[in-house]
């Protein structure tokens, strides 16, 4: 399969006070369409920074980042935002739902940027909530949902605009084992049945087992890569 994500000699530096700190040192990486990749490594290894670059939340200091043939490192502010809206779904450790909105309204957020009618938006939201098994919680606020349910809503929000890529930062970091396995199973299903490419940062080796590929970063460099035989 063709690489959906391609990084070439990617370097990322941050300014910490007056000091420039290099977090990623010349990363080269290809992720193929339909892969489920777990990015692992110790704290401070650069996992989240790499994920942010892949998801277009940040831009590299140097090097190239291409996603689905688009050089996103060359895109600026508004164009990058529009690219994210069309191509990437994000899932975060702490769900990051808007507390004052119902589940339905939270899932609808990415669709507000499209030209879909209210009725079409409602249909798409219902479909996304059905995929994550939360049709009956559409009108509940995040405070009325369990952690697992809130993360499912976040996944529905990531899915609703039908992106090719799902970017997940420690999606099970705040959940118990059983709930975490449910969420990971859901991501696996989305990867296998809907062909979504999933890139997931995790500390948890059990979570990484749900992925088809595992990448290890240490001190800003990719140190190993393993591929699991698909069951």
């Amino acid at each position: 399969m063709a690489a959906i994500i391609s990084l070439r000699n990617v370097v990322k530096r941050y300014l910490r006070g007056k000091q420039s700190v290099e977090v990623l040192h010349g990363i080269d990486l290809d992720i193929e369409t339909g892969d489920f990749v777990a990015l692992m490594g110790p704290s401070g290894s650069g996992k989240t920074t790499l994920l942010n670059l892949i998801g277009g939340l940040d831009t590299p200091s140097s090097g190239e980042v291409s996603v689905a043939g688009v050089r996103i490192d060359a895109l600026g502010g508004a164009r990058l935002a529009r690219w994210r809206a069309r191509n990437v779904g994000f899932v975060f450790q702490f769900y990051n739902l808007l507390p004052q909105l119902s589940a339905q309204r939270n899932v609808e957020l990415p669709l507000l940027l499209t030209s879909l009618s209210a009725a079409q938006r409602r249909r798409n939201v219902q479909a996304a909530l059905a995929i994550v098994g939360l049709s009956d919680r559409a009108h509940h606020k995040p405070s009325e949902l369990s952690g697992g349910q809130a993360q499912r809503v976040a996944i529905a929000r990531a899915l609703v605009s039908d992106p090719t890529l799902l970017v997940c930062d420690e999606p099970t970091g705040d959940l118990d084992r059983a709930t975490a396995d449910e969420i990971l199973g859901l991501l696996q299903t989305l990867n296998r049945e809907q062909g979504k490419t999933v890139v997931m940062v995790t500390h948890d080796p059990k979570a990484a087992e749900f992925a088809t590929h595992q990448l290890y970063l240490d001190k800003g460099e990719l140190v190993s890569r393993s591929t699991k035989a698909v069951a």
Binding site: D58, A81, A85, R105, L109
Partner: protein
């Protein structure tokens, strides 16, 4: 419109804070509506002053009287088409708080000048015939339930009667309207002859004279001619247009426009800080949420517009509530200023100020939201 639920929900994220902010804006705009309404009502009366009229008062002070004889002398000034006279009666009905705008006039002279008044012919005739007759404005009659045939006592705070006492009795013989100048329907007019004969002092004198000129372009020349006529006399005159006269009359009360402007400036200046800090705090608390919006594809400019829209919605809704309350309460001022509705211009001005307030208070938080870095915000930096 599709962003409305998002903006509305953000606005009510902290209900108590929003309610208090709303209330402070509502009260400010209620105050604005009432004060600016009064100011506009006075200005409107001045602006609508008759351009064909000159007012002749004593040059020493407006409160000093003039000899009645000036009236006939002024009538002979070229360009003058009619002259009437009025005096301040200073009357109230039953209780000092029931102040009545009451003036002794000569009906026939008054009618030639007072073209804005409407009174049925038979009632006017009755007024001319009846020595103690009085005609009252429709609003005043409605307020006290007066009708034709009623005998009404007014107590004057200035004039005592020859027989003793300051209570004057009048027979209501007519009710007039003034469709274009509703405030005049609060007036009480009665016969000067009755007044002049019965009063103890000031006989043969009048408060001021109202001069009708044939051509308003000649007003300045005629005013100068009138003042020249009485120059170096014991009662020199100062002749002004009706507009100038009303302006100086209002200044007797105080510079209303100055007072209102200063009060409102202070109110809105403090409101600017109160609302601004509230919106700023709200933005700070929502940094992760704003970052999420940017993550899912909202542009920097889009987030700026959302935060500004929140500010506009808050300020405009509260302003409308405040102005609506002012419009409801405004008729209560009728007794004091004779105006029954809040001028539309004040409502429009209020909405414009609300939008400006929203932009002034919302711009800084909106700009900060625009500059928010997703990575830093999500990392809690």
């Amino acid at each position: 419109m599709k962003f409305l639920p998002l903006i509305w929900a953000a606005l009510w994220r902290k209900k108590t804070r929003t309610v208090f902010t709303l209330l402070s804006i509502v009260v400010a705009f209620l105050l604005f509506g009432m004060l600016q309404g009064v100011n506009a009502a006075f200005n409107s009366a001045v602006d609508r002053a008759n351009v064909n009229r000159l007012m002749v008062a004593n040059a020493t002070a407006f409160t000093e009287s003039l000899p009645y004889a000036y009236l006939t002398q002024i009538e002979s000034v070229p360009g003058v088409s009619a002259v009437s006279q009025q005096s301040w009666f200073g009357g109230y009905y039953q209780d000092p708080k029931n102040f009545v705008f009451s003036f002794p006039v000569e009906p026939l002279r008054w009618r030639r000048i007072g073209t804005e008044y409407r009174i049925p012919e038979d009632q006017f005739d009755a007024w001319v015939r009846t020595r103690t007759g009085a005609v009252v404005g429709a609003q005043l009659a409605a307020k006290y339930g007066w009708k034709i045939g009623d005998r009404v006592p007014l107590h004057s705070v200035i004039w005592t009667k020859a027989g003793g006492g300051s209570d004057w009795e009048f027979d209501i013989v007519g009710i007039f309207t003034s469709p274009e100048f509703a405030s005049r329907e609060n007036q009480f007019l009665f016969n000067y002859s009755y007044f002049d004969e019965a009063r103890v002092f000031g006989k043969g004198r009048v408060g001021w004279l109202v001069v009708q000129v044939a051509d308003p372009r000649a007003s300045a020349r005629i005013a100068a001619a009138i003042d020249h006529l009485f120059a170096n006399s014991p009662d020199e005159t100062e002749t002004k247009t009706e507009k100038e006269f009303q302006q100086s009359f209002l200044k007797q009360i105080g510079d209303i426009n100055f007072i209102v402007t200063r009060i409102l400036f202070a109110v809105f200046f403090s409101l600017l800080f109160a609302t601004g800090s509230s919106l700023m705090q709200s933005m700070r608390e929502r940094i992760p949420e704003l970052a999420v919006l940017k993550t899912v594809g909202f542009t920097d400019a889009g987030v700026l517009r959302l935060v500004l829209a929140e500010s506009v919605m808050l300020c405009v809704l509260a302003a409308l509530a405040g102005l609506a309350a002012a419009a409801l309460l405004f008729p209560a001022l009728r007794d004091a200023i004779g105006v029954v509705t809040l001028p539309r211009a004040v409502l429009a001005e209020g909405v414009v100020i609300a939008v400006l307030l929203a932009l002034a208070t919302g711009l800084l938080p909106a700009w900060r939201a625009r500059r928010l870095s997703i990575v830093d915000a999500l990392a809690g930096r």
